[in-house]
């Protein structure tokens, strides 16, 4: 029987460091809620806003698949593998932290804010060689459909990670419906509404709400406003 967990936008953990405002769907940093540790292999969904010219200084990661999706503005990346790059709205960045990587991320603009989603997925292999990748997506390809932006397969559309997960972005017009069929029915689906108003299996979702669903084969999403969403198919047993 289908199971769901609903995370309203205003129930998320909030952090305000001045230069950084972040909303944490799951326990992160000093925000700890034992009822909100993870959704299967999805461990972090942070909704970050960084002030102009500010950012995260050099810090380490290991054994985690870290995905960044800019929503507005540009983020400058630098890491211990000598990668230097800027990602902006329409791009996606992935790091397999593996045995260990140091990196920094700064707002590339001295004035304008940058907004981005930071997503961490538990890897299906420990201690892989660290890896960095980024890709510019064709935003037009997600109008009224789900555009695959991440998968476990290097040859598939989007970036890839060390986990059997699939991510999609979609921009849907008001009044439409979308059906998603899971690739593996033992997986779950986590839907995060970036902007708009949708309904999934009777649950109303507004901007920045999240809904996890599992023990199901398909989901139907109805759109009551023009809506931008992120859909993630995630292993529940990993």
């Amino acid at each position: 029987m289908m199971q769901t967990i609903f995370h309203p936008a205003d129930s998320r953990g909030k952090v305000d460091l001045g230069w950084l405002k972040s909303y944490h769907t799951f326990s992160f940093g000093n925000y700890y809620d034992p009822a909100r540790i993870n959704f299967g292999a999805l461990r972090v969904l942070n909704d970050d806003t960084v002030e102009g010219g500010e950012g995260f200084g050099d810090h380490p990661h290991d054994n985690m698949e870290i995905i960044s999706i800019p929503l507005t503005g540009g983020l400058k990346h630098r890491d211990s593998m000598d990668n230097v790059a800027v990602i902006s709205d329409g791009d996606i960045q992935v790091m397999s932290a593996g045995t260990g990587i140091f990196h920094e991320e700064h707002n590339d603009d001295p004035e304008e804010k940058v907004q981005f989603l930071q997503i961490w997925i538990y890897p299906n292999q420990l201690n892989v060689e660290p890896r960095y990748g980024q890709l510019t997506l064709n935003k037009a390809a997600r109008h009224n459909k789900l555009q695959q932006i991440l998968s476990p397969n290097p040859d598939d559309p989007g970036v890839w990670i060390y986990q059997d997960a699939w991510f999609y972005l979609g921009n849907f017009d008001k009044g439409l419906q979308c059906v998603y069929r899971l690739k593996d029915k033992s997986n779950g689906v986590y839907v995060f509404v970036i902007n708009g108003h949708a309904e999934i299996n009777g649950r109303q979702l507004h901007t920045r709400d999240g809904l996890g669903l599992w023990e199901l084969e398909t989901i139907t999403i109805s759109f009551f406003e023009n809506t931008e969403l992120l859909l993630m198919e995630i292993p529940m047993n990993f």
């Binding site: 326990s27 992160f28 940093g29 000093n30 700890y32 034992p34 540790i37 461990r43 972090v44 810090h59 380490p60 990661h61 290991d62 054994n63 985690m64 932290a97 593996g98 045995t99 260990g100 140091f102 961490w120 538990y122 420990l126 201690n127």
Partner: protein, 96 residues
């Protein structure tokens, strides 16, 4: 009140030391670093650890040896920084 002693075992020295520093930043928590199974078990003979975190770089057999040796929660640490660290420790302390 006694400190809660937490052992971090990992092969990446900089990251392991960063994690210990983050642990030490929390009131009543005290971190120690070990870079091998032998060093971890040696430290355990003089400190009553409450939790062991397994960091990056340990082989499966090294992780298995540590899980077998310690009779306290031994948890895989993911992420290599402050993001998940505190929740992992809170969860492990709850489980002990």
């Amino acid at each position: 009140m006694e400190n809660i002693e937490i052992l971090v075992v990992g092969k990446h020295e900089q990251i392991t030391r960063t994690i210990v520093r983050l642990i030490d930043g929390k009131p009543q928590w005290k971190g120690s670093a070990a870079f091998s199974v032998e060093e971890a078990t040696r430290l355990a003979q003089r400190t009553a650890f409450k939790v062991v975190l397994l960091g990056a770089g340990l082989s499966r057999s090294e992780s298995d040896k540590l899980r077998e040796y310690f009779k306290i929660p031994v948890v895989q640490h993911y992420g290599g920084g402050s993001g998940l660290l505190y929740a992992e420790i809170y969860e492990a302390l709850k489980a002990k």
